[in-house]
């Protein structure tokens, strides 16, 4: 028995070492990208390619952000995504609150929820053609506002389901107690429910931001100039150039990954829980 237990312990250690090695391997592409972004141009012609930059510099970052003016695209992305997040939060509360707190026929509730969920599975490419035509006739082509509008709509289904889940976790009795004390419905909502929902709202905001931040198809089709182009369009623009400049390409890649990863530092647990449909409920 003891022998088998010792055997078991050794086996576990081996597996754990393998898992850590696997994690490092999984992260290698990121490492390679960061390393490439820090290499000066001269280091791309040496063979074999070096793992670490010999003379690390932020030259590629400044030449792409300032020299190519990608800082404008970064600004566009931030403005568009933040605006979309605000709309998404407001609209998802408007939908989720009545569906969880007000007395509606159960069939209506599940019907609306299922319809909203089904929109999550609508491939954007199938509505992109008419949306392009509509945006053009409305004179909103190459304007950030059209992307804000679309990101709000396409981010909404996911957010509604998240907010709905968080709302269901707050007992209705808390608000009812406030009503008994004479508080109005809106007072109970803003002063009692909303503060309790704050962590969930934050997680919804982070995920909605990350989803809008990654969006590429609409941005590619509905923008043409730095007036409205988002950062992913800029990333793509560098990739499809005839002569590819490796360190600049890696630098834009690094920037586009760093932004959502930094956001994840806020409320990782809630984000994980939301990304995995609430399966992860670990206290960490």
């Amino acid at each position: 028995m003891l022998g088998s237990r010792a055997h078991h312990a050794i086996w576990r250690h081996i597996v754990q070492v393998l898992i850590i090695a696997g994690l490092l391997g999984y992260m290698f592409p990121f490492f390679w990208m960061v390393s490439t972004s820090l290499k000066p141009k001269s280091e791309f012609y040496t063979y074999p390619p070096s793992l670490l930059p010999g003379h690390p510099s932020f030259g590629a970052f400044s030449s792409v952000l300032i020299g190519r003016g990608y800082i404008t695209l970064l600004g566009n992305s931030i403005v568009i995504c933040l605006s979309a997040v605000i709309f998404i939060l407001a609209l998802s509360l408007l939908i989720a609150y009545p569906l969880t707190r007000l007395s509606l026929p159960a069939r209506v509730k599940t019907g609306i929820l299922q319809w909203i969920l089904s929109l999550r599975f609508l491939p954007p490419i199938v509505v992109v053609v008419p949306i392009f035509a509509i945006i053009r006739t409305a004179g909103l082509y190459d304007r950030p506002v059209s992307l804000i509008f679309l990101y709000s709509a396409f981010g909404l289904p996911f957010a509604v389901w998240m907010v709905k889940g968080f709302l269901q976790e707050v007992p209705k009795e808390l608000e009812e107690a406030a009503w008994v004390d004479g508080a109005s419905r809106s007072y109970a909502f803003f002063r009692i429910l909303l503060p309790l929902l704050a962590p969930g709202i934050l997680a919804t905001a982070v995920i909605s931001f990350a989803l809008s931040w990654s969006e590429f198809l609409f941005a590619l089709i509905l923008t043409a100039t730095p007036r409205a182009q988002t950062f992913p369009v800029g990333v793509w623009g560098l990739v499809t150039q005839f002569q590819i400049i490796w360190n600049e390409m890696a630098a834009v890649g690094v920037i586009s990954v760093i932004v959502p990863v930094c956001l994840l530092l806020f409320g990782r647990r809630y984000v994980l829980s939301a990304l995995t449909f609430g399966v992860i409920r670990e206290k960490s």
Partner: protein, 296 residues
Amino acid sequence: MSLAIKGRQVAERKLAIYLLALPIAFLLSVTVYPLLHTISLSVHDFRTGAFVGTQNFLRAFNDPALVASVRVTVIYVCVAVLSEAVLGLLAAVVINRSVSSPLLRGLIYSVMIVPMVTPSVAAGVIARLIYIPGYGILNYVLRAAGIISRDVLWLSTPSSAMFCVLSVDIWQWTPFVFLVLFAGLTAVPRDIVEAALVDGASGVELFRYVELPFLKNLLLMVVMFRFADTFRVFDHVMALTGGGPGSATEFLSVYLYRIAFKFWNLNYAAAIAIFVVIVASILMYFLGKVLTSEVA
């Protein structure tokens, strides 16, 4: 039912309608209205604008490029979803059994979430830095290991280009399957596992009769999500191969994009879009069934 309660119910319904009206109208205007517009586009000619009925659809059925696109899309969806499901499930079971330290578990959660929030275009960039001839590190590693003697042109041979595009999807989304199932496994009651082990169940039997039944619904759900998302694959393909070489990685979205925004045949593109919607709806229908039994 007393009058007071009934009055409150009526008031609540009224409020619900006020609150829901604006966001639902908004969603309808961005999704359902464009869909109707797509249908109208699909039955008109793109040069004259005249009503042509099913002509665009008939053209779609006889379009070899569309057939090729459907073919590569099917291959892509099947290989990606299957690999992600198998690898994610395997990793979840193995890691759940061998890692108990909360620190290491926390580290795994943190690391695995990063690929999921990486913009797909950026994932395409990362893959380029690995596969591209010259600077790409993969050729160097394979040469150093003596597996190949000359650089492989990963992105310009049809079969390897498909492999490259698939590898990005699998790298980025296996963590999603893994995280859901890994978390799902923590819900398996400890005493059931122990009872099975006392009864002499082997590792495989434990998986087959205890863990798998617990994970079944979750697995079905993640597979449906991955199905829907691989079906619309676009971003990293554009950054990595642009649909090429030839049409080796010209998936439905990429083909539709080319017809609409390179050839500007919006009407034919609309007909293809309708076809895609029909297939997507069938998938959606099944997903709805799974989710209602799971969530509601």
